[in-house]
Symmetry: C2
Subunit: 505 residues, 2 copies
């Protein structure tokens, strides 16, 4: 037990070390930004060495005897700390345990394995040859099961990995979520496909000069509430957002000359992430809590701007007028409804990252069911190609021609990223729940019709953004909506939007 001075000293040491880690983490992030936005590929080795060195320093700053003693002392005196300091200590202790409970040697072997596995996965995907990847994936799963024993878990080892990305989320809640989705969205998709309605999208595939796409994407970001004076908007191969500080939030999109929708939606999507990162309160700014509270909540912000706001009929009508000014030849003759329908067309695809709003979560459901099965032994790695194809057929009604566009399409598993996929679907579902309550406070539709995002973004600032990770996801949802996460809102939203769009009774 410590006296006040001991606690104060421990807290000071802890914060000083953590601030040094943050400073190095900042540098590492800039190196990543640099690499993603044009740095010569030939400089990769030097960059890797630098990142490796900084990782080593960050590890030593976290894992050492002084930190161990300080974290233990502080964890035993959480009541003596401010709310921000308390969360900093609890989060760091969790991270510390994660790093130290697994024997170093096993962790190093596992790191070497995933590094190799990612390369093998790439080759396997290219050759559509799952057999190549199979032994690596088996070993990864077996390591993760072993690590779960070292780290300890509640009820099911997979709970541990869900919690790594979405604190407080469990299999029980996810089962309910995906059961609801399966029961309501799979039949909805079948009805849509049976409706026979044809939606034209060819006008979105005309030639849209990239520099003008950049102009309209920038305009879109401004409109939805991203502050370009405190950020940087560039192009990269894969769009992403990087919040370095509320005053330095960076995001990218990617332009395809013959695909206007892609750039607009990825700008809106990353814009949602970026608006979250720009609006942490002063209380958490400059601390490690200046970050999204979970992957699911971060995704809820990208999805709410992309799907619920930008892809709404009201906003698209407003924005089409602006687009017509920049693309008079391409869009001059397109009507509101045709534009809305084209931008929202439902079409099952084999590839997750090309999926539309409606079918996206079904892709995630497939991955969730498989991850769970691998962790409880009900699915064997060697059965994956068959299991995958069966589920794609059952939920999306289509069949991959080969494993490259099937079970091998995503990199995540080769990197040991299990428990991550569900947060993509949670994001959309959280967004729908937030929208439901936002509509009780605001006339959302009128705002969207007028392109007036101020009230919408202010509501999200107040309810979600300001807290950073001070309030954890489960508590935050309760605090905002007065209830736990509930998938009903999401299914209601999808049914209403797409029944109307496809003229289902």
């Amino acid at each position: 037990m410590g006296n006040t001075t001991q606690i104060e000293q421990a807290l000071e040491r802890f914060k000083a070390a953590q601030e040094q880690m943050m400073a190095m983490n900042y540098a590492t992030s800039i190196l990543f930004w640099d690499a993603s936005t044009g740095a010569p590929k030939s400089g990769a080795d030097k960059r890797s060495t630098s990142i490796g060195t900084m990782s080593g320093f960050m590890y030593k700053l976290l894992v050492n005897e002084t930190m161990d003693a300080d974290l233990n002392l502080l964890t035993n005196h959480l009541d003596a700390l401010s709310d921000v300091d308390r969360v900093r200590v609890v989060d760091t202790k969790k991270e510390y345990d994660k790093l130290t409970k697994i024997p170093m040697e096993a962790y190093q072997k596992y790191s070497a394995l995933t590094s190799k596995a990612s390369m093998i996965w790439e080759e396997a995907k290219e050759n559509a040859d799952f057999k190549l990847f199979e032994p690596y994936l088996e070993e990864i799963v077996s390591y993760l099961l072993k690590f779960a024993e070292y780290r300890g878990y509640q009820n099911h080892p997979y709970n541990l990995y869900i919690d790594d990305f979405e604190e407080g989320m469990t299999i029980d809640q996810l089962n309910t979520f995906f059961d609801t989705l399966r029961a309501r969205i799979v039949p909805l998709l079948e009805k849509i496909q049976a409706s026979g309605k044809q939606v034209a999208t060819d006008f979105l595939g005309q030639a849209f000069p990239v520099d003008k796409q950049h102009t309209v994407s920038t305009d879109l970001l401004k409109t939805i509430g991203f502050d370009l004076n405190r950020g940087w908007f560039k192009e990269s191969v894969h769009p992403f957002t990087m919040g370095l500080d509320v005053n330095d939030v960076r995001l990218t999109t990617h332009y395809y000359e013959n695909d206007l929708k892609s750039a607009l939606l990825s700008s809106a999507h990353e814009g949602g992430h970026a608006i979250y990162e720009q609006n942490f309160s002063e209380k958490v700014q400059g601390t490690p809590l200046a970050t999204g509270t979970s992957n699911g909540f971060h995704e809820s912000q990208s999805r709410i701007y992309e799907n619920n706001f930008v892809l709404s009929r009201s906003f698209l009508s407003y924005f089409l007028l602006k687009l017509k000014a920049d693309f008079p030849e391409q869009l001059g003759s397109i009507g509101d409804l045709a534009f809305y329908e084209g931008m929202n067309k439902v079409e099952p695809s084999l590839i997750r990252i090309e999926a539309d709003e409606l079918t996206y979560s079904l892709h995630i459901m497939i991955r969730y069911e498989i991850e769970l099965g691998l962790f409880d032994g009900s699915i064997k790695v060697s059965d994956l190609p068959r299991v995958w194809n069966e589920k794609v057929k059952a939920y999306l009604g289509i069949t991959p021609k080969h494993d490259g566009e099937g079970v091998l399409q995503d990199v995540h598993w080769s990197e040991g990223m299990f428990g991550y996929f569900p947060t993509y679907a949670l994001g959309s579902a959280y967004a729908a729940q937030l929208m439901h309550y936002m509509k009780q406070d605001l006339d959302v539709d009128t705002c969207l019709k007028n392109g007036d995002f101020k009230p919408l973004t202010a509501w999200l600032n107040d309810k979600v953004h300001q807290y950073g990770s001070l309030v954890k996801p489960v508590d935050l949802m309760k605090q905002i909506t007065g209830e736990a996460f509930n998938a009903t809102y999401y299914c209601d939203y999808l049914e209403q939007k797409y029944s109307e769009l496809y003229g289902l009774k």
Copy 2:
């Protein structure tokens, strides 16, 4: 005294620490690049914190008891080391002594002083009020004199500061250099001005669209031998070059719509620096020796490409044809000779960074004489405005209207950068000496006429670039030319070029 194993262990520890410093230095450089090429200004605080943290780690990696003992042991056994390791040790020991011989407290006070002085200088320059800056400059000079006592020096304290930027260079050699310049270039300038010859430059001030300037600048870089596949060429407010690795060399230029010459020359100038950085031999790659051997030699490479190559009549004739294709309206009717004369017009200016090739070194001479005078007490800080204006009048024949365009124009002194200015002039003079010997091996003029830089760059690769800082500047000049640095070549070159251009007898 150590045995072989002790030496090997010390060397291993030394190199491991040095590699960690290099990794952090790499990250710090990328942060600087990021800040200079578009990062939001509002993110400056976070960047400063990160740079400060990494500087702290780098300091601790260098200054500690183990490093002290290892450096002493290794310095006593230099014969046991390879040539590369020997230079690494000697250079680091020098840096170590520089950092440790000055008492920490004095150094911190000095750092605070220069930080304040830079801000005051800015204000003083804006208000053209030297009196504001005077007490700060007095204190800086007095600190530097005190530090010279701590650090030790040969004959004259200013020798120490020259050596910091140009190893082995001394006042004796610089006096000879500037005496020669004074005796030959000041009269040459007077003759040029008396010649009455009018050179037109108005055609260079037409509107040249910035995107096309970027195209021709990129083309120029390719032509002179910069490998764009192992580099990155962007725009920034002040042009600069950053060699992170032979495979990642970055450079910038700045475009002014109404000044084609500026972008072309700064591209060629930075291109020269960048070609040096791209061509270190494998032997020094990845070590701290993968850097220019001195400021003067680095500048010799930027100057040789900018002045001796690109501004030559032969190359400009070749390049004008290309420029006409991109700027037919602006340059279509311009003849070879008019272009050459316009690009090389001599015109004394008050501002160093706007000076032409001929008068540039006279600006440096003024600064050298003043720095020397301040260090030996023959010039008082309070006399500087008067002394400055007298020298500008004597050498350039013009007089500043106020101190803002006179003694206050450069930031260097406020940052304590004494001994740096002479290397700018040395660069041009080294370049002329190198050119003299290059012409004994190659038909330089024919290469330039054909825009064929391969033999020229290969010669410089072989004679200069490959060594990095393995061979020190004084030795390198001897090794290449068989003689010591000799200012005659530079004066001969300037006299010949400008006598011809201005039709002097």
